[in-house]
Structure formats: structure tokens, C-alpha cells
Symmetry: C2
Subunit: 354 residues, 2 copies
């Protein structure tokens, strides 16, 4: 349970690695599980609320758990490069771990699709970013062809090693709580993460007999293919990290929902941003907007009475990424500073002290 | 040594807290100590190089270690608010911990001095940000007067509880290494952090008899008051987190240098940015520009032969904040993506595979 280790060293026996796997790590994992007492009071509930703050992984998102395994396995195969079609957290993580491995990283993106700011991490970690005159599907096709022709490892979410690494978060939650939680609320985009957590909890259940949590997944209303049971061609939401119209792990997410007797529902952008601001203002936790789908989902379930507010037990909300990934959103969402003359009284008044 | 605890719970006995102190924590601390083998090879040195990645504290900088103690003590005193004059990491941390404590936070800044982006964290955590028509010294004066008149706790770096909290990083490094390092390289701005680390190491030395590291501090050339032994009226550097002309802990930094037989020197912005890019591209670690003063300093000492490259031992470089604090710098510093037609061959060529 040391914080001085990455997840491969910590969870060697449950991951697809062996003594010959070169361990490429940035000491990911061991992220905080924060007791959210202010939120609990505000919601007026009897259960404990915990926030799993995955934004404190090295590149600022949960992707690092999967990437340490995917890149280590790529290094074991002696791949020349890792490649992904991604404009966000995956490209940031892939390029950081590739840098650590001394491997090339290639990020393929549709031309014109993305602001450069979103790529700042990939760029600074030395990724070769190639903008292709096509759409996202066209990019994926190019990526697949490159993997066939060259010694290049695809680290998009279809890479099964990613899921294996990500499941370690279930183990950490269980370690800290001393038990599995009763409910887990989380955002659902490509659905790899709900798949991974569920795999982790099932393993823990098999090995230690601990009960399975109900898996509660939330998509954004404008990008809710699983909820609506149809591919969404033009997904739209402020929660960019879950702006996905055709999730790669769709089937597995439905299984996690059904096997756990949980649910997958959608929440509006307005509710997401409200929950996102609440996390920052009540709990001091600054997360990516997408992360707040978990709290927005919990609030929805309390309204709908899908979860009993007087129930005694534990609820974990997964916060998938750090708010610093999207600082502009914060500036857009708040009041500008007040300007006053140099006077202690005027400052006291502006600050609400008098 | 659990990651499931904040630093007050972990280091209760060495901090100025007691059973009546309400612990305000975001599970700060327990940050990675990353073995930098690529850098070691690149530098061609015989010693081990470690990176203490303090950017993985909750608000993205080392300030959280001090703030958990300062805000907990403010809560113990039943302060109505915490206040600071800061435009950067201190205001982000103060406002997050105040939010967690259910306390008001007030951030006083000189009007026109700062881009709103730097304040995104303070704003989203609900701080009352007041821009005053004066300079930084005028702001500090207003802050002091407010603290005299109202039940408001000042959490600027003059607050001694900040130093106490920050010293815990020395303990963590020693825990992970199993010993104190031989050298510690770190950025020096307001000089509170070098003061805190030195205090930590001296305590460890007294209690456990472990030897004291040499403290090697680095200022930016355009903001090097300690090196030049004079107040710098208009400090200038890209490393905004150490853009300080008159450090609050000046005297203590000089003591740390002299008592440890270390050194405080300056490094140019060019060398800082070069080291910053090296950290990201060779080690996969994205830090604030100021953080890279530690690596730039190590390289300077190797050039000057102030440190023997064949020496066998351990060197720790402190990386004080996360690179996501300043994403624009990354975008400014790298090549823009290449644009190509939809063709696997063209992408392969642009990515350097053929």
C-alpha cells in the first residue's frame, strides 16, 4: 500500500506482466479517496460520500493507470512507437509514458477538430502530432493500418492492457475503505473505465467474497448513446472527456450495469456544470467538467429516489481528471474580480467582511 | 506510509497540531519520487537522480502541504476567513482548503497585474478576489490591516504553519529512499520551501542521525535577489512561480545554504525552459517552468564541476508544481502539428516511421 510505487509494482500479480516486462512508470495510482462531508451535509444523506480524485495521476487523468501497462507491454514487444487517435487525455498520457520509455509517440487527429491547448501535454512530451484531412473514423483507420505495417503499438482504448491497468482503482478504493463501496457513480464516455472498475470489483468479489457495488454510469445528455440505445452522430457536451457517440466498450458497460443491478442514465450539461462548481466550492476539489457527471448522477438518483437518502453505507464518486485540464471553463463560469481603491474598508466590504 | 491520509494524519507528532485541531485535508502529500534514469544516462552521471513531483498535490503545487496546516489552525481559532495576497499557487491552495473548511477565502491582488487564467482555481473554489488599485506591497499592507481588524487569518508565506507543513516532504523523500539524499536541488523564490525542507532534514538528522543533504537552491537570473545580495525591484522571468524580488524567507534560505555547505545560484530563463522541456521529453514529467530551475541548477553544477559526475550517491530535484498550471507555455514552446492528406504512407512519413 505504499505511495512510492506505481501500479505495476503494487499490483504485479493481477496484471498481464511478468519478470521480463520492462516497467514504464511515472508512479501513477495511489490517488486520494476524499471523504466529502460538506457534500454529504448539503445533500442531507445518511450515507458516506467519497471522491476518488483520479486527476492526481501524473498526467492529470485516470488514463495513466492503463497507459503504464499498455506502454510497458509495448516496450516488452520492442515496439518502435505507440500510436493513438485522440485529442485529449489519452494522447497526454500516451506521450508521457512513451517519453519515459524512450519510445516515439504518434498522435493522429482530424485536422481542425481541436484547439492546440488540448494538445499541450502531447506536444511538450515530444509526440509527433499529425493532423489528417479526414474525420475521427478516418484517423482510426490510418492508425490501424500503421499498426499492421510498422512495429507500432496502438494504445487507444481498444488495447486490452488499458482496461487491466484501470481496474487497479477498484482495488485501491477497497483497500482504503476496508470494503467495497455500496454504490459507485462515474462518468461514461468510451465506457472503458466502467468496464475496468467492474472487472476489478468482480475479481475482488471472487477472491475475497466482498459484495459487489452497484455501478451507476452517467453520460451527458448530448452524448448519451448507451442511454438512448443508438449511435449519436454528432455528440455535443461541455464535458469534452465524455463527448463520445459510439463507445468502444458499449457492450461491456451494459453488462456492468446489468450484472451489478446498477444503472446508466444521462445528465444535462447544466447539471454537470452545477455539480462541477459544487465540487470545487464545497469540497475544494477541482475536477474536469466530465468528472462531475458522477455527482450530477448521484443528485439525479436522489431526486428520482433510485437511491434512498437515509440508506447507511458508502457511495464513491469517480472524478476522472483534474480541473487544470480545462482552466478556461473555470474562468468562463465565475464572476470577475471586483476592483476597489486602496482602502482597507473598501476591501473588507468587497470581501463581504462588513 | 499510507496514501490514504493527508500529511497531518501522517505526521501528526511533528506538526503544531493537537486533538482539538479540526483537520482540513484534501489528502495532500504522498507525491511520487520518480527515478529519472533517462536523465541520468543523458547527463552521464554516476549518481542516482530522483524527481519529487509535487505537482501531484491536490491543487497542483507543494503549497498544499503548508496550507492544510495553516487552514486547520485557522479553523481551530475559528477564523471567519483566510486571506492572502497572491496571484498564483498560494491563492489556488488557500481557496481550495478554505472551501473544504467551509470558510471564506479572500485573495487580494494588484489591479491589472495578472491574467485571469492564473486565478481560475481561486475563482472556481469560490474565493472573493479583490483587485486593488495599488502594487503588491500595497496589497500586503491591506491584508495585514484586515487581519488586525477582523477574525481573518493570513496564509501568505509569513504564516509559520506553512513552513511546518512543507517540511513533511523531507520526511517523505527519506522514507522512500531509506536515507536522506546527498544533494537536494530546488527552485528558490520566496524561499519558504528551502527553509521548510532544511528544517525537515535537520529534524531527521537530530532524531535518526541521518546525514544532512547539501541544499542547492536556484533563482532565475532576472529574479535573483539572494544571489546578487540585493532587492530586485522589477523581477522578471518566465518562471512566474519564482518571480520574487524580495523573498520573505531570505535569511533562512541563506542559513540553509551555509549550514548545509550547499549553494544558491541563478540560472537563465533559456536554461530553465531547456530543462523544463527535457523533463517532459526525457522523463514524461510535465512541471511548471519554475520547477525546472532544479534540473537547470544540477546541470550548471555539473558544468562548473561543483558536483562530481562520478560521485556515487543520490540527488533529488524538487519539482514544485504541475505543468498544467501554465499550458500556454507548452503550446508556445513546441512545433505545431503537421497537416497531411488521408494516406497511411503520408502519416507514416510525417511521423518519422519511414
Amino acid at each position: 500500500m505504499g505511495y512510492g510505487k506505481g501500479i505495476i509494482e503494487k499490483y504485479f500479480n493481477i496484471l498481464p506482466v511478468n519478470e521480463n516486462t520492462p516497467v514504464v512508470t511515472l508512479n501513477e495510482g495511489s490517488t486520494p479517496l476524499i471523504k466529502a462531508e460538506n457534500l454529504r451535509d448539503k445533500l442531507g444523506v445518511g450515507f458516506e460520500v467519497f471522491l476518488k480524485y483520479e486527476g492526481l495521476n501524473p498526467t492529470g487523468s485516470f488514463k495513466d493507470r492503463g497507459m503504464t501497462v499498455a506502454v510497458s507491454k509495448a516496450a516488452e514487444k520492442k515496439a518502435r512507437a505507440v500510436i493513438c487517435a485522440s485529442t485529449g487525455n489519452t494522447s497526454a498520457s500516451a506521450s508521457a509514458y512513451a517519453a519515459k520509455a524512450g519510445m516515439k509517440s504518434i498522435v493522429v487527429i482530424p485536422k481542425g477538430a481541436i484547439a492546440l491547448g488540448k494538445l499541450s501535454q502531447a506536444l511538450i512530451h515530444g509526440a509527433k502530432v499529425v493532423a489528417v484531412k479526414t474525420n475521427f473514423d478516418g484517423c482510426l483507420k490510418v492508425v490501424r493500418e500503421l499498426c499492421e505495417k510498422y512495429e507500432v503499438e496502438m494504445v487507444n482504448s481498444l488495447n486490452p492492457n488499458r482496461i487491466e491497468g484501470q481496474k487497479t482503482a477498484s482495488y485501491e478504493i477497497t483497500e482504503i475503505l476496508g470494503d467495497t463501496p455500496d454504490y459507485q457513480f462515474m462518468p461514461v464516455g468510451n465506457a472503458g473505465n466502467i468496464t475496468a472498475y467492474w472487472k476489478g470489483y468482480k475479481e475482488i468479489n471472487e477472491k475475497r467474497g466482498l459484495s459487489l457495488p452497484k455501478m451507476m454510469g452517467f453520460q451527458a445528455s448530448g452524448a448519451a448513446p448507451i442511454v438512448e440505445d443508438r449511435i449519436v452522430n454528432k455528440p455535443e457536451t461541455v464535458a469534452t472527456a465524455i463527448r463520445i457517440g459510439n463507445p468502444a466498450s458499449w457492450r461491456q458497460a451494459v453488462s456492468a450495469r446489468d450484472e451489478s443491478k446498477g444503472g446508466i442514465d444521462s445528465v444535462s450539461d447544466e447539471k454537470i456544470l452545477q455539480a462541477w462548481q459544487e465540487l470545487a466550492a464545497c469540497e475544494g476539489v477541482f475536477a474536469e467538467p466530465a468528472s462531475a457527471a458522477s455527482l450530477a448522477g448521484l443528485k439525479l438518483c436522489l431526486e428520482n429516489k433510485k437511491i434512498d437518502k437515509d440508506f447507511r453505507g458508502s457511495v464513491v464518486c469517480i472524478l476522472t481528471g483534474h480541473g487544470l485540464k480545462d482552466p478556461d471553463r473555470a474562468v468562463k463560469s465565475v464572476k470577475k474580480p471586483v476592483v476597489v481603491k486602496e482602502s482597507t474598508e473598501k476591501v473588507a466590504s468587497a470581501a463581504g467582511l462588513i
